[in-house]
């Protein structure tokens, strides 16, 4: 567990770098989290992150298929935006827990 000071707020990360408190998330936090993974977030990235947060907060499981059907990005674009493990990376940058889905 480590703390990260982002834009004047202290946020807590777990051992794998996921936010422990999802309510501490905002766009600035997202950009800083993405920098840890060497990723520069664009508006498109943020749009995906917002979709993930809305879906998660509505109580639905996050899957790559659902992102592909979101109308925000296709699955191909999703893989391009968040290379090497799109669902895990995007969940992390969206301040959500590590996804537990196998599909």
């Amino acid at each position: 567990m480590k703390d990260l000071n982002i834009a004047g707020i202290n946020v807590n990360l777990d051992d794998e770098g996921y936010l422990t408190d999802s309510s501490q998330w905002n766009e600035e936090v997202a950009k800083e989290l993405a920098k840890i993974d060497d990723l520069e977030l664009t508006d498109k990235h943020l749009e995906v992150l917002k979709f993930l947060r809305d879906t998660y907060n509505a109580g639905d499981a996050l899957t790559i298929r659902r992102v592909g059907k979101s109308g925000v990005v296709t699955i191909k674009e999703f893989y391009k935006l968040f290379p090497k493990g799109p669902l895990k990376l995007s969940s992390k940058h969206a301040g959500l827990p590590k996804p537990t889905s196998c599909v």
């Binding site: 699955i75 290379p83 090497k84 493990g85």
Partner: protein, 167 residues
């Protein structure tokens, strides 16, 4: 060299040799799961597994109701083999399996393959089995990259962080 150094998997090559619904899904879930983790994946379909990438059959796969000792009735009672021989029972059981998969957000085979290839996964067919079943490239799903020999498959399975999985 550090003995504790982790060597994450870099590539999986998965062979699907059976055409039952659950066998094809097992291969797809493993292959797609690899791509989701950023691991390179190659799927190789052979013998009856070819049904999983044959246009005519890929979305109509069945679960065997005969010769499947793990098959049970809803509620857990054993599933009598003779019941499985009645016309329509296998179709009904297969439809139930597909509903169960859909509930878990597991897509039909063709859509699953699309998801997998969208993530960079590759699909191949076995030359020997395709010849045996009289299948041409046109009979196969459009994104099958090629019909290849087992030698070619091994060639593609290079790298010391590669695993070959046979389902």
């Amino acid at each position: 060299m550090d003995k504790n150094e982790k060597k994450p998997l870099e590539k999986v090559c998965i062979i699907c040799a059976k055409g039952n619904l659950e066998d094809v899904y097992a291969a797809l879930i493993m292959a797609n799961g690899a791509v989701m983790e950023g691991i390179e994946a190659k799927l190789f379909f052979t013998f009856f597994g070819l049904d999983g990438i044959t246009k005519k059959y890929m979305d109509k796969l069945h679960t065997a109701t005969v010769g499947n000792p793990a098959m049970r009735m809803p509620g857990g009672l054993p599933f009598p083999t003779l019941l499985g021989t009645i016309p329509g029972v296998e179709a009904g059981v297969s439809a139930m399996m597909k509903q169960g998969m859909a509930k878990l957000d597991v897509p039909p085979v063709s859509e699953f393959l699309e998801m997998y290839t969208a993530g960079g996964g590759e699909v191949y067919a076995c030359k020997l089995a395709a010849e045996m079943f009289g299948l041409e490239k046109d009979d196969l799903w459009e994104d099958v990259i090629d019909i290849i020999t087992i030698g070619k498959f091994y060639e593609m399975s290079d790298g010391d962080r590669t695993q070959i999985i046979f389902t």
